[in-house]
């Protein structure tokens, strides 16, 4: 079971209380997690990745196991701690004012 932590605005949009939990087949990658997340919560489509390019939106970051994975390949396997659910995969709104 994959654990995903979303920023407050997206939790509210998707009506998620706490973490989202997802079943994702191996190999667990960022793309696989986000595909599963959007399939389960279609209202999140376009809010994390651009609708057309499918690339990460500029002010969204992806963290896991205290690492910034935002610019890593979306198809690279994630650490076992993410795949086993020991650690959450974090979708983070970048620190920016406004």
């Amino acid at each position: 079971m994959i654990r995903v932590v979303l920023p407050q605005h997206l939790r509210k949009l998707a009506r998620i209380d706490g973490e989202a939990t997802l079943e994702v087949a191996a190999p667990v990658t960022q793309r696989a997690i986000l595909d599963a997340l959007e399939a389960r919560y279609p209202m999140l489509c376009g809010t994390i990745r651009d609708r057309v390019t499918r690339r990460r939106r500029p002010f969204v970051r992806f963290f896991a196991c205290q690492e910034d994975l935002s610019n890593e390949s979306p198809d690279a396997p994630l650490p076992d701690a993410i795949a086993t659910g020991a650690e959450p995969y974090l979708v983070v709104g970048a620190m920016a004012g406004g």
């Binding site: 605005h9 376009g46 809010t47 994390i48």
Partner: protein, 371 residues
């Protein structure tokens, strides 16, 4: 007794202001979608409980929300605005070609007759349509692929399609405006388009009376006279009596003919309203006095409406979508400011009072008269 519902979009959420027909006491609800930029919230003329809202942030992009109960509850609908076919290029600020890229929805225009049909004006400029209540959107690409489109250039706020007016007597006739491409008209439901900028003169472009390139800020129409249009341009207040084929200036005695919104009295088609702003670099009222100007002659002769509005030290702006009129008698006029005030007048503009004073910067104001 009639009621009034004012839909306010702000930089940090949407607010709904409601009153009875006297329009003296108001109930305020919100913020809805707190923290999000609400560029526009508008109700369906065919079903006043059907509302559509454009919701956006730099972090999480564009959403469209729909309410079927007058704003008590909302559901996100499709936010997929995909250009139809090759995107082509327009001019960027530095004059180089720049690929069309979707940024946000500026304006939602529900159909006069069908609650499920809505037109959406977006940045980079294009027109989209839904006929299923927002479950899906498709572009009307004839506008974006117009022969002049490669020459279009964004204004300071982006290359936005911000004004959509559908002729209430002929749904195939649509007027739109783009900053800063100008105004366009379709007579076939949005399939093909023609620039309607003859008579506009803009000193800020190389050819001041060019076919396209004018920074039109807003167009307004009275539903009883769909061939008569009023325009607030970057500079100049303009009027057309032939559905946009030609325009003439009606700025007359305004203290400044720069501004953003323009609107028409609900029952007097020759009575129009603007809010003069000092200049294109000083986006606040002349002399620190917030004055709505009213013309009862369709332009040229203007009177300042000041009763109840701040007449000193006022340096707010009123954005292009932030003025609206209701259809009660007497006609109500409403506008919101970048300082977070929403002012209302229940007597056609003679007297004003703030409905709310401390909202986030107001982006849009729409009003519904409810039976």
């Amino acid at each position: 007794m009639s009621r009034v519902r004012v839909l306010v979009g702000t930089r940090k959420g949407a607010f709904v202001l409601e009153s009875d027909g006297k329009r003296q006491r108001w109930e305020v609800s919100g913020p809805h979608f707190g923290g999000w930029e609400m560029y526009h919230v508008k109700g369906s003329p065919a079903d006043p409980n059907r509302l559509y809202a454009s919701q956006n942030t730099g972090w999480f992009g564009q959403l469209i929300q729909r309410s079927d109960d007058g704003g008590k509850t909302w559901e996100p609908v499709s936010n997929e605005f995909a250009y139809d076919g090759p995107t082509g290029t327009h001019l960027w600020y530095d004059g180089t070609p720049h690929s069309w890229a979707f940024a946000r929805v500026w304006h939602l225009e529900p159909s006069h007759t069908d609650p499920d049909t809505v037109l959406a004006g977006v940045e980079d400029a294009a027109l989209f349509k839904t006929t299923d209540g927002g479950k899906s959107w498709h572009e009307l690409p004839g506008l974006r692929t117009h022969a002049t489109a490669a020459q279009w250039q964004p204004g300071a706020g982006g290359m936005c399609l911000h004004t959509i007016i559908v002729d209430p007597t002929n749904a195939n006739r649509i007027f739109i405006a783009i900053s800063s491409a100008g105004a366009f008209r379709s007579d076939d439901g949005g399939v093909t388009w023609s620039p309607i900028n003859r008579g506009l003169v803009s000193e800020g472009i190389p050819d001041p009376d060019a076919e396209v390139g004018h920074c039109v800020h807003r167009i307004a129409m009275h539903r009883s006279r769909p061939n008569v249009l009023f325009m607030q341009k970057h500079w100049d207040v303009m009027r057309s009596d032939d559905a946009g084929a030609t325009w003439r200036e009606v700025s007359g005695n305004l203290p400044s003919d720069f501004g953003f919104p323009i609107d028409v009295h609900a029952h007097e088609p020759e009575t129009i309203y603007v809010v003069p702003i000092k200049s294109d670099s000083e986006h606040y009222p002349p002399d620190g006095k917030l004055r709505v100007y009213r013309s009862r002659s369709g332009g040229n002769e203007w009177e300042a409406l000041t009763n109840g509005l701040p007449q000193r030290d006022c340096y707010v702006n009123v954005l292009r979508d932030a003025m609206s009129v209701d259809t009660l008698d007497p006609c109500g006029i409403y506008f919101g400011t970048t300082g977070g005030q929403v002012y209302g007048s229940a007597d056609g503009g003679d007297t004003w009072a703030p409905i709310v004073r401390d909202l986030p910067a107001v982006l849009s104001v729409e009003v519904q008269a409810l039976s």
